[in-house]
Each structure stands twice: as structure tokens, then as C-alpha cells.
């Protein structure tokens, strides 16, 4: 009477051992709504605008008992800059207007693009930085600076082009 096997022999394709299932689960399933993901807003005033997820509240908070995230998006996209523009004009055209918003996941369309922009100060002040007006403006300014400098490097071009619809 050998009592060696740990898990009782069961039909192989679906081993019900919890550890195995969780490891298979992790191998198979990928969370994609993470900070840095580029998303498109679907509802609200900023519908159709692109944004980047700054901070995720998976299980929600007491005020918002649903999964939501803080996004930093482009309220106004930078205009198209051409080579003949003077430096002053280029500077003017490259300006962006940024919004910060707490958005429900169902009102976002995730994309395959990411934008690894360092928005740590914006993220850390997250839930309360959106309550008072001046904190919000401060956070938006910080995000604006970061996004503008990213646009000037010419990377993530998709993010800074307006979605045509």
C-alpha cells in the first residue's frame, strides 16, 4: 500500500490542484489595463480622446465601487508641425492640453499601444489630487509638461495624433 502520490490521479487535461491551476492561469491570462496603457475614452466630454492610464483602482474605492482608473489624456492634441515652421511657431503648435480623469473601465477602449511616461507624481497624489481645484490643476500641469516633452521627442506618434471618427 504505497501512499506516495501527493495528488490523487485524475483525468490529466484538467489537473485540479490549486497550485497548478494558478500557475496555468498566470501563464494564460494577462492583465492589460495597467499603468502606461494607451486607451481611448468612449464616454463623456472627452469621448474619442486618447489617454494613458496613470493609476488603476482594480476593486474600486468606497466612492466608486467599480473598477476604474486615473487617466491622463489629451484634451487638445498638438497641431501638425511642418519643417518650415519657425521655432516660435513650432513651440506654439506643440502645446497640448491635458486632462486628468477617473474613468470607469467600461468607458475605455484599451489599445495595443503603451506610453511609458513617468507620471509618478501624478499617480501618487491620485485620489485626493482630483478633489480640490488647485491640486488638480497642479497635477495637470505636471502631466502636461511630461507629455509635451514626449511629443517633442517624436516617439509614440500614434498617441499624439487625433483619432478620426
Amino acid at each position: 500500500p504505497s501512499h506516495s502520490p501527493q495528488t490523487p490521479p485524475l483525468p490529466s487535461p484538467n489537473p485540479p490542484a490549486a497550485a497548478q491551476r494558478s500557475s496555468r492561469k498566470e501563464a494564460k491570462m494577462v492583465k492589460f489595463l495597467k499603468p502606461g496603457k494607451a486607451v481611448i475614452l468612449l464616454q463623456g466630454r472627452y469621448a474619442g480622446k486618447k489617454a494613458v492610464i496613470v493609476r488603476v483602482f482594480e476593486e474600486g474605492t468606497r466612492d466608486r465601487p467599480y473598477g476604474h482608473c486615473l487617466v491622463a489624456g489629451l484634451a487638445k492634441y498638438p497641431k501638425k508641425v511642418i519643417r518650415k515652421d519657425s521655432a516660435k511657431k513650432t513651440a506654439k503648435k506643440s502645446r497640448v492640453k491635458v486632462f486628468l480623469k477617473l474613468v470607469n473601465f467600461t468607458h475605455l477602449m484599451p489599445t495595443r499601444y503603451t506610453l511609458d511616461v513617468d507620471l509618478k507624481e501624478v499617480a501618487s497624489g491620485a485620489p485626493d489630487s482630483l478633489t480640490s481645484k488647485d491640486k488638480k490643476v497642479g497635477a495637470a500641469k505636471a502631466a502636461k509638461a511630461k507629455l509635451e516633452e514626449r511629443f517633442k521627442t517624436g516617439k509614440n506618434r500614434w498617441f499624439f495624433t487625433k483619432l478620426r471618427f
Binding site: P11, P13, N14, K25, K28, M29, V30, K31, F32, L33, E58, G67, F105, T106, M109, P110, R112
Partner: protein
């Protein structure tokens, strides 16, 4: 449940399905009477597996919950009916691509899929969270 098993592949012969069925079953040589889906065998298999999932596993039916399970990566397999509107179909496929979850295109419309789930309503898309005793996840890995 016995009657459900007999009821599952409704013998609706669509010319395209017929052509596909003929192409698929001709090398077999077996005399399949009414092969409406791709091959009668695999059509049955999906239905049986779905039945087992309904009995023993966890699943959600319907577009909103399918998106929700895709978003929080709880879904293991997503099944779409063939008359799912193309925008919705591509949206679910896109989410599944991001989350690396397989999508299975069921050979039947939402009425058939609802019947296969043992429900009396139409089901356009469903997501399987926990297959229970069924091996539906392994059996359709490349089931696009």
C-alpha cells in the same frame, strides 16, 4: 439533458456549411448523414463540453459580462455566435488578443448557442471562467 444532447446540432443545411462539411468529411469516408457543422463529431464535442461547463463550471453569458471578465482576465475562453455583429465580434477579439485569451467562433447563431447552453434565450457571446470538469479549454486552443 438527454433530449438536449439529441437536440444540439440542429440540422439546418446552409449551402456554405454543406460545402465545408463535404470538404471536411470526404477524406473520412464515413457515412455521416447530416453534417451541418464542420464535422458532426467536433460540432457535437463543443456542445457536449459546453453542457458540462454549464453543469459544473463557472461562466457568464452576454456581452457586458464577457467584456468584464476579459478586462479582469478572469475568462479562460470566449465563445461567439456566428451572427454576432461584426463590430462587437472584432471588439471582443481585440480585448481577447490583449488579454491573450482564446476566442472560439461557434458554428451556429445565437439561438443555437443559447440552446447549447441549455437556456431558453439567445446567447451571442459567453465566457467561461472556470471549466469545472470539462476540458473545453484544452480541446479548443486554436479554435478560432
Amino acid at each position: 439533458i438527454q433530449t438536449l444532447a439529441q437536440l444540439t446540432p440542429p440540422p439546418r443545411r446552409h449551402p456554405r456549411a454543406e460545402a465545408a462539411a463535404d470538404a471536411a468529411t470526404s477524406p473520412r469516408g464515413a457515412t455521416m448523414v447530416t453534417s451541418t457543422k464542420k464535422t458532426k463529431k467536433s460540432g457535437d464535442n463543443i456542445n457536449n463540453k459546453l453542457q458540462l461547463v454549464m453543469k459544473s463550471g463557472k461562466y457568464t453569458l452576454g456581452y457586458k459580462t464577457v467584456l468584464r471578465t476579459l478586462r479582469n482576465s478572469k475568462a479562460k475562453l470566449v465563445i461567439l455566435a456566428n451572427n454576432c455583429p461584426p463590430l462587437r465580434k472584432s471588439e471582443i477579439e481585440y480585448y481577447a488578443m490583449l488579454a491573450k485569451i482564446t476566442v472560439h467562433h461557434y458554428h451556429g447563431n445565437n439561438v443555437d448557442l443559447g440552446t447549447a447552453c441549455g437556456k431558453y434565450f439567445r446567447v451571442c457571446c459567453l465566457s467561461i471562467i472556470d471549466p469545472g470538469d470539462s476540458d473545453i479549454i484544452n480541446a479548443t486552443p486554436a479554435g478560432q
